[in-house]
Symmetry: C2
Subunit: 371 residues, 2 copies
């Protein structure tokens, strides 16, 4: 299959690769890309700019008559958002060789009890069901990986800077927690006789915030994005609660300390409220990634040659680049977005900023593919 002048292949989980063979096609390729999936009620720039932008960057290079020495590859990663199967960067995590994920996906199901393998099968993927490790890429497959992305924070817009050059990606940890109590009728059960799983969840949510603020660093963040009560009726004391917690830092140890404190708080709540901690699981707890010096240099030089302002910065959101860094030297190019908004419909980037990002990406790919 060919698309935008690239030869296209898909792997067994839906990662899509478009390849432009270089003058020396046997060399390791330079890769770029991002994702096109989104969370519910999201915007349309997160990820998408880095896939369409990558295709456009290749078209720019082709139009200019450029001939790459190394092959260039555009990757559209599958399931970057954790929405359906609870794990972020599913596609790039597998490419980077996560045996744990390849195993756990054999039995993963979504909220409607559809298995990952059935979902992938229905979408036409996963012909090789029994062994998702077929998706793994070898180290050395790529000589470099660069991802173009909106900042998802307010810094570039606030400071009027066109390009952010990412030096490190903050390390995310995701937790899933469940409390259980006896439930009961909201009128008949007196307060001293209750063990309300919903109030246990509220208490833990506020404890997450407290532990994050106590870390002493502005770089520590923590969020309870999911808090669900069962049975969820106004006149019923919650007998179960389910929380999903996300906490991140550029300092792995400091973040792990927050995770440990959240665990201690959950245990303490079981004692004070008489509820059961029926689940406390660390779904993922990834190390941060450091960008490669040579890739940073290539982006910096491209930015200067294009007369654009730039700034070295940390990515507080994580990206497929976090996992591609396990396979190859990695770098990221950020562009400003409106008020730093992301993961909501107001997410926006101007055509000028996207155009600047594509130009920097194209020139960076040209440089890296010549090395």
């Amino acid at each position: 299959m060919e698309l935008a002048g690239l030869s296209v292949r898909e792997d067994a989980v839906g990662n899509i690769f478009g390849r432009w063979d270089g003058l020396e096609p046997e060399l390791a390729a330079v890769a770029t890309g991002s994702h096109i999936d989104a969370i519910p009620y999201s915007g349309k720039y997160d990820g998408v700019v880095g896939v369409l932008g990558a295709i456009e960057a290749i078209r720019v290079l082709k139009r200019s008559g450029f001939k790459p020495r190394r092959p260039l590859e555009v990757i559209s990663f599958t399931s970057e958002e954790p929405t359906r199967f609870g794990i972020g960067c599913l596609g790039s995590r597998l490419l980077a060789g996560s045996e744990d994920l390849a195993n756990s996906l054999k039995t993963s199901t979504d909220i409607q009890n559809i298995s990952f393998l059935d979902a992938a099968g229905s979408a036409g993927y996963s012909k090789n069901e029994d062994d998702l490790s077929s998706v793994f890429l070898k180290k050395g497959t790529y000589s470099a990986f660069v991802e173009l992305h909106i900042e998802q924070g307010p810094i570039l817009e606030d400071e009027g800077i066109s390009i952010g050059i990412v030096t490190a990606i903050a390390a995310p940890a995701s937790l899933t927690v469940e409390f259980e109590g006896n439930g009961g009728h909201a009128g008949a059960a007196l307060m001293p006789n209750r063990n309300d799983a919903g109030l246990a969840a509220s208490e833990l949510a506020l404890a997450v915030e407290r532990h994050v603020l106590d870390s002493g660093s502005i770089d520590t963040v923590g969020t309870v994005g999911i808090l669900e009560l069962h049975p969820g009726a106004i006149n019923s004391i919650p007998s179960k609660s389910h929380l999903e917690i996300d906490t991140r830092d550029i300092d792995e140890e400091r973040r792990n300390k927050v995770v440990e404190k959240i665990h201690q708080s959950a245990i303490k709540i079981t004692k004070t409220r008489g509820v059961k901690l029926s689940d406390f699981r660390v779904i993922n707890q990834d190390p941060p990634a450091i960008s490669d010096e040579a890739v940073i240099k290539a982006v910096e030089t491209a930015t200067k040659e294009l007369n654009l302002t730039s700034k070295l910065m940390i990515s507080r959101a994580y990206h497929d680049s976090l996992f591609m860094a396990r396979l190859s030297p990695m770098g990221m190019i950020f562009i400003p977005c409106y008020k730093g908004y992301s993961h909501k419909p107001e997410e926006f980037a101007t055509i000028e900023d996207m155009s600047n990002g594509v130009k920097v990406l194209a020139l960076t790919l040209a440089k890296l593919s010549s090395q």
Copy 2:
């Protein structure tokens, strides 16, 4: 239509009435009944015992050769639980002549945006859509109303008593609350820049508990049975939260003070967290109901004649009787239930206890219908 020897009619919202004409059918009837709907993941005794038990009580009286002076009516009330349209005792509230409810139901919708009128229409009811006040009953329609119900609390079982005779029903208030914030990406938005609608909800849930405990009376209860976050993704800061709060007391003024304190806490949270209180509504705030002396007397006498132990008690749960008390003298008969469990699958009453309840109800109906 006839069922179990009763002539049956339905009204425009699905209340079902089964009538046994007495020797003097022009007299006001004695009524009994309850509901057969349930909350999600509920038990099968709450309400149902009072409908099937009422039918059985009538059969007992018929088998015994008894001829009532006044007519006897069994009522199966529609939508006692507030699950679908957010308002408890929808059927009996309308029978009791709630103009507010008759008006608001014209525009009420469920969570899937299906209107009350469409839902009633699909179920074959509400031929008289434009005027639900057609359902209202006149004061004096019934000379007395008695409801048989499981206690939904542990007292009768704990004390080994067969029959609870209800002297008053605690007064429920229901609130719906919504907070709104800016949402955003769980990694990119730093903690000081957040206004997390989910944490606002958790804080209010804990404030509800605090205000209830501060009332100084064991009779005050409060519950957050519904707490929902939007968009509900692990990597997204909640931009909206929705709570439904239930608080009850046998003292109306004390309960209204709790409602006022919850409102003050919600306003305070908007200031400390920078969120918007986009909704704060008292859905219902009903006065308590006092049982009628003559009905209490009839139940007490019936219990004694049957050699059963009994106890005068308060109903902390509310029931259709709360609204039937607006139409006619009212009383309730409680039977023990396992560990006081209700609104969950473990809800249970023994055949012996249900049988005792039915006998007491039958004898009470016999007495009241002869007066």
